[in-house]
Amino acid sequence: MTTEKSNGETAEGQLVLDLDGYEGPIDVLLTLARDQKVDLTRISILQLANQYLAFVAEARRIRLELAADYLVMAAWLAYLKSRLLLPEQDEEEPSGEDLAQALAFQLQRLEAMQEVGAKLVDRPRLGRDVFARGAPEGIQVISRSIFDLSLYDLLKAYTEHKRKEEYGTWRIQPTELYSMEDALQHLSEMLGRLPDWTSLASFVPGAAGDSLLSRSALAAHFVASLELTKAGKLELRQEGVFSPIYLRRVRSQQS
């Protein structure tokens, strides 16, 4: 946002607008309230509303772009003003006085936090005003874990991982392996067409060559045949170690 400087001549109601210095509309209100030079508990909210509306009007006059929340606050204060000036009608809604009090509380609370925040950071601080022993000899607390890792480190590691995940370029490589799922489906489809004991190898597609793909296909079909056997859909037979494996459909289910 731009900064407008008046040449020291601040006419009545004219404001020096430097929005960079503010932390939002409540902060502007607090600054304006301080200008009333009274205890915040006795601040004139009506006067404050007028000051803020003048501030926003000025910002618009010099075509300063105001964030939406500054305008929302202006609209709300205009509403509050009307509630404060007009006789109360609606019993349902909080009265203008209640609203004014709530705003005053909000300002007091923020001011209190700003004050104690300043007091906190002005305290003698470790590493700035007060120093620990420069060369500790390294006695560790017994209960302390020997692994040095803070929650911050852990969360940081996770978020860095997440960022990589969100923005990393993913290239899914074409699968070079015959998957178990495919083998399972292939075998299940073939199941109905099984005449009798058939060797497992004859089911494996692309049997030519011993490429990684065909070897993975064999392995996948083997695991799939075990799964189907476990499910009671298939019978397996093997004469001896390393000899061909035969399979057939479970017949009992048919009869």
């Binding site: 609203l99 007091q108 300043a118 601080r125 700035r128 005003d129 007060v130 120093f131 929650l151």
Partner: protein, 193 residues
């Protein structure tokens, strides 16, 4: 000098971290009145260039605060904290456990990036329990490192705590729901987007 006091002095002196009373008592052996010994040791150092201090119930030696200026030459230049960061730290310290929405409602603005994460990186705040309200929002609390850094014995020693409590200013509920709703809603959608 009494041997237990000597060992106590050496233990605290040698440690890279503040030590709690239980650890110290364990190291000194049975039947030692650790509280009395610590008081005695603290007394020994009163008025010297080094103080024996306790933060969050843990004891350490620290240089005397009044020497700050003369020692500071050596200190690394610390990153200056932004207004938003200081305000947020104060709100967490005084209102804890406090949710981000409450922090925003007190400050009247959405929390910008580089506020909570800086406080967390400094080791001063951390997530506390989730609030058992709809949405189960995470709360934020201060750490022992916070007490240590700011030389506070406990959270009860926060400046002006009693005054603020008495005046009711430590109520973190949103007050201007009508206007906060708008600002808060916009902020939330921005965050989630």
């Amino acid at each position: 000098m009494n041997p237990e006091l000597r060992l106590l002095e050496a233990l605290i002196f040698a440690s890279a971290e503040p030590l709690d009373e239980r650890t110290l008592a364990d190291r000194l052996g049975n039947g030692v009145d650790i509280v009395r010994l610590l008081a005695e040791l603290k007394q020994d150092y009163a008025g010297r260039g080094i103080d024996l201090v306790s933060t969050a119930g843990r004891w350490s030696f620290r240089t005397a605060p009044d020497l700050a200026e003369k020692l500071r030459v050596d200190a690394e230049v610390q990153r200056k904290l932004s207004r938003a960061t200081v305000e947020t730290l104060a709100i967490i310290a005084y209102h804890q456990p406090v949710t981000r929405a409450e922090i925003e409602s007190i400050r009247g603005v959405a929390t910008s990036k580089g506020t909570l994460d800086i406080l967390m990186e400094a080791g001063w705040v951390r997530p506390g329990k989730r609030r058992e309200t709809p949405g189960r929002p995470l709360t934020w609390i201060t750490t022992d490192g916070f007490l240590d850094h700011f030389g506070l014995e406990s959270l009860r020693d926060l400046p002006n705590l009693e005054d603020l409590k008495a005046s009711g200013l430590l109520d973190s509920r949103p007050v201007l729901t009508s206007i906060q709703g708008g600002a808060g809603g916009a902020a939330a959608s921005e965050e989630e987007g």
